[in-house]
């Protein structure tokens, strides 16, 4: 398979592997596109927001205090009501503010818009979506941002198993998938409580179905239930647990279902939380997990229906390295199948909005600059519709209404940034390099205003894809 020339490779590196070129980025990538990408693989993981943000324990405790503090609620309500009439919108906005979601969004979007290592950031975004924790449940709101910063970003080029363990024990995930409420029916806690207490299978099921072996990965309903029993006791500290544990992962032995467990044919002795770690280790090493991850990565980076040869390479990199994600990333970059000239991936709304900012070399400063377009374009920040996360396929994002909304956003954004120093054609060349088609270039030249020219750039087939 012949690779495209260096100019084309650079254009692919910055758009398909990266987040869309910032001014000057194509030049940096051009000498050695693969090397430029590999330099972004760093053992320390993905970037963190600057300035740093509070951790999950602090956020969760503050949120709990806010919910108990009527005076603070009234004060915030008064502030919000001065801006909006809709009581439900006020209520939601208060929770979002109390949970710190706005500063989380700005922090995250500024990394994406400014980073010199856009492949690293895309890689992190992929795993943040793989391990979705969504603010669609009220109690999760304060933990959503910290989840990504604490359980995902540090581990994106480490062992997959480490990330899986961090995710499966993070307060954000434990709250989101109801694990905190799960009590072993034969545990001490169940015997002491008067009302019914029992298992909740939600997290156990999604770890199997979504995070590791995937559907068809060879587990049964009985395995889900056994895994849920093993996980009982995984919880989040409350105020009654004291300041050292409040808002943090705790293992509640009294809620743990005692006894050995059998999952996917293997028997595990009861070692409390250690049992879960042993199960997670075995899930990481399961061939179905390598297959599931390889396919998802190939889908995200290359095509909705990726070349089987690419999937096979990623799978063996995963298996051969024991789930070492830096090795998988290098394999992806080295695979010729990932460099097919035609762009097969349709950008999600977040990718579109971020690549627009990068093309102009600007970054959002206020939450609404990014939250508003994402709401309108159908991908509200931190609010994925289900534990499965946001969809990958073009069919999900290229609905007729979505294209009309993208056009409206493009016009708005183009109007805001049209007074930049570079002419629109230069902006287009700096963003797309050799991927810019002659017909798009001539439509930009023929535009009646700078705003119209930039709108054409953003709406062009080559900018909508990567």
């Amino acid at each position: 398979m012949a690779l495209p020339d260096k100019d084309a490779q650079a254009a692919i590196a910055v758009t398909r592997f990266g987040l869309g070129a910032r001014p000057g980025e194509l030049e940096k990538a051009k000498a050695d596109p693969r090397g430029w990408l590999k330099e972004q693989i760093t053992a320390s993981g993905a970037e963190q927001p600057n300035p740093p943000l509070p951790g999950s324990a602090e956020r969760i405790s503050a949120y709990r205090e806010y919910q108990q503090d009527r005076r603070a609620q009234q004060q915030m309500r008064a502030e919000m009501e001065s801006q909006s009439q809709d009581p439900q919108a006020v209520q939601l906005a208060r929770l979002v503010q109390a949970g710190g979601l706005q500063e989380e969004l700005v922090g995250k979007a500024r990394i994406a818009a400014n980073t010199q290592a856009p492949f690293r950031e895309r890689w992190a975004l992929f795993f943040a979506n793989h391990f979705t924790v969504s603010a669609t449940k009220g109690q999760v709101v304060p933990a959503v941002g910290p989840f990504e910063r604490e359980a995902i970003r540090p581990h994106v080029f480490g062992k997959f198993g480490t990330m899986l363990a961090a995710s499966s024990s993070h307060p954000g995930m434990l709250i989101y998938l109801d694990q905190v409420q799960s009590v072993g029916p034969g545990s001490l806690a169940a015997q002491r409580r008067r009302r019914d207490a029992g298992l909740n299978e939600n997290l156990a099921r999604e770890i199997l179905e979504l995070h590791t072996v995937g559907v068809g990965g060879g587990y049964s309903q009985a395995d889900v239930t056994e895994f849920a029993r093993a996980m009982t006791g995984f919880s989040v500290g409350g105020p009654q647990d004291g300041p050292a544990q409040a808002g943090k992962f705790v293992f509640r032995r009294q809620a743990h279902e005692p006894g050995p467990r059998t999952i996917m044919g293997k028997r595990y002795a009861d070692e409390g939380s250690g049992t879960v770690l042993a199960i997670l280790n075995d899930l990481t090493a399961h061939p179905a997990t390598a297959k599931h991850l390889a396919r998802k990565i190939a889908c995200h980076f290359v095509a909705d229906n990726p070349p089987p040869a690419l999937v096979a390479k990623l799978e063996s990199a995963f298996t051969g390295s024991g789930g070492q994600l830096d090795a998988v990333a290098r394999t992806l970059i080295d695979a010729d199948e990932a460099w097919e000239a035609a762009p097969a991936k349709f950008k999600t709304p977040y990718e579109l909005v971020i690549s627009g900012h990068r093309a102009l070399g600007v970054a959002p400063m206020r939450p609404q600059q990014i939250a508003q377009p994402l709401n309108t374009l159908g991908q509200p920040a931190f609010r994925a519709p289900s534990p499965k996360g946001w969809p990958e396929e073009a069919a999900a994002w290229a609905a007729p209404d979505a294209i009309v909304k993208r056009l409206a956003w493009s016009e708005d954004f183009a109007a805001q940034v049209s007074n930049g120093p570079r002419p629109p054609l230069q902006v287009a060349k700096d963003a797309l390099g050799s991927r810019l088609r002659p017909e798009t270039a001539s439509a930009i030249i023929g535009a009646e205003s700078r705003t119209e020219a930039l709108t054409i750039l953003f709406m062009s087939p080559e900018f909508q894809r990567r």
């Binding site: 229906n305 159908g378 499965k388 069919a395 609905a399 056009l407």
Partner: protein
């Protein structure tokens, strides 16, 4: 094969409502008949939608989340409706609402995503087919031009396929006429973008003339009178599209938020709020359709039901059969659709779930045959592939 292995998803518009619809220009086969499919995503608990308060095992299985006969809205000696379904109950009293209390998809899967895939694709198993059965219905109904539209940013599988189904959502749109022309030119060799843009702009024009812009943009409230008002407005908006000249005859609406693993509630609470929302949407739709309600069938279906027993966190887990609601002015009167397997311990599927007595494709096929005039042969092969052995449930409409 799709990227993420299953094609479907719980849709994302704000609090989780999305609409996709498509209309046929040629109406020879179906006349002015209208069909609305409401997909309750997340596993709607049929035993709360239509609680079998007369089943001797019901109250014991449900414990703290059981709905008492006194609270529920009575249908017959066994079944009632949830107390929040007041508008639907009023329809039932006029013979315009029936329940199918134990329907399920043909493949016994307990993953939301796989089950929704089966529900919407119309296949007999997961990954059976990659387009939606409602899209194939449109193909079957008319060889001529089909219009489309989607409220919400994502296209649901049920309407994906060879016929371009449109989509629409509230919010501002592009004002000028130049850009659409320039873009149409740039998209000349790009079927995905060119079809979507053309369809989107057509629908937007229809939405403007239908006054659909009245629908509030932004996030829906999850509970309270504001939520019900917004649900009614959603139903009314769908009705305005459908009553337009050239408007869609076949509509799919998604409402999510049914995955009640914990603190599900009974007559009030989390699930009750979603049911109030559903009831409001149906109410808005029935009222908005006016005289055309008599030509309409509405199906409310979900990917699977929930466990018969309450779980340890006062919720329910993924189960098997659930209740489908069959509504509309075009219904024939009658009792429950399909048999009631009862909740007796020896009748539960795998000792945990309400058992299925009716393949949901039989329900769909019956409605398409009776109401929309789709031929049996087409139903057995094209709309629901290889489903010849699944007889349509006739006599519903």
């Amino acid at each position: 094969m799709s990227c993420s292995l299953t094609l479907t998803r719980r849709l994302a518009l704000a609090a989780g409502v999305s609409i996709a619809f498509a209309g046929t220009a040629a109406r020879a086969a179906a006349g002015q008949k209208k069909l609305v499919v409401i997909i309750a995503r997340g596993g709607m608990d049929g035993l709360s939608v239509a609680p079998p308060v007369g089943d001797p095992a019901y109250a014991r299985l449900r414990g703290p989340i059981a709905i008492s006969a006194g609270e529920a809205l009575k249908l017959d000696g066994t079944f009632s409706l949830h107390p929040k379904l007041t508008a639907i109950h009023a329809l039932a009293q006029r013979g315009q609402a029936r329940i199918a209390p134990a329907v399920a998809i043909p493949d016994n899967v307990r993953s939301h995503f796989e089950a929704q895939d089966v529900l919407e694709s119309g296949g007999s198993e997961v990954y059976g087919t990659s387009s939606g059965w409602l899209n194939r219905t449109l193909t079957a109904l008319s060889a001529s031009r089909v219009e489309g539209l989607s409220i919400g940013a994502q296209a649901p599988l049920i309407l994906r396929g060879p016929v371009q189904a449109g989509s629409w959502s509230p919010g501002r749109t592009s004002r000028g006429e130049r850009l659409p022309m320039i873009l149409a030119d740039l998209y000349r060799n790009d079927p995905l973008l060119s079809r979507a843009l053309a369809s989107g702009l057509d629908t937007e024009a229809m939405a403007q003339s239908a006054g659909a812009g009245q629908m509030m943009a932004g996030r829906s409230p999850q509970q309270g009178p504001g939520a019900v008002a917004q649900a009614k407005e959603l139903g009314a908006t769908v009705a305005r599209f459908m009553t337009q000249s050239g408007g869609p005859q076949v509509v799919a609406v998604s409402i999510d938020g049914w995955d009640t693993h914990a603190n599900q509630g009974g007559a009030d609470g989390q699930l009750a709020n979603r049911l109030a929302y559903l009831d409001g949407a149906v109410d808005g739709l029935a009222t908005g359709l006016g005289a055309e309600w008599k030509d309409t069938v509405v199906l409310v279906v979900t990917e699977f039901g929930r466990t018969a027993r309450v779980n340890g966190t006062r919720g329910t887990d993924h189960g098997t059969a659930s209740t489908a609601l069959v509504l509309g002015g075009a219904l024939k009167t009658g009792g429950i659709i399909g048999d009631w397997p009862t909740l007796a311990p020896n009748r539960l599927f795998e000792s945990r779930d309400l058992a299925s007595t009716l393949d949901i494709r039989a329900l769909f096929k019956g409605v398409l045959a009776d109401h929309m005039g789709v031929e049996r042969r087409v139903l057995d092969t094209a709309v629901f592939p290889d489903s010849g052995s699944v007889a349509p449930k006739m006599g519903i409409a």
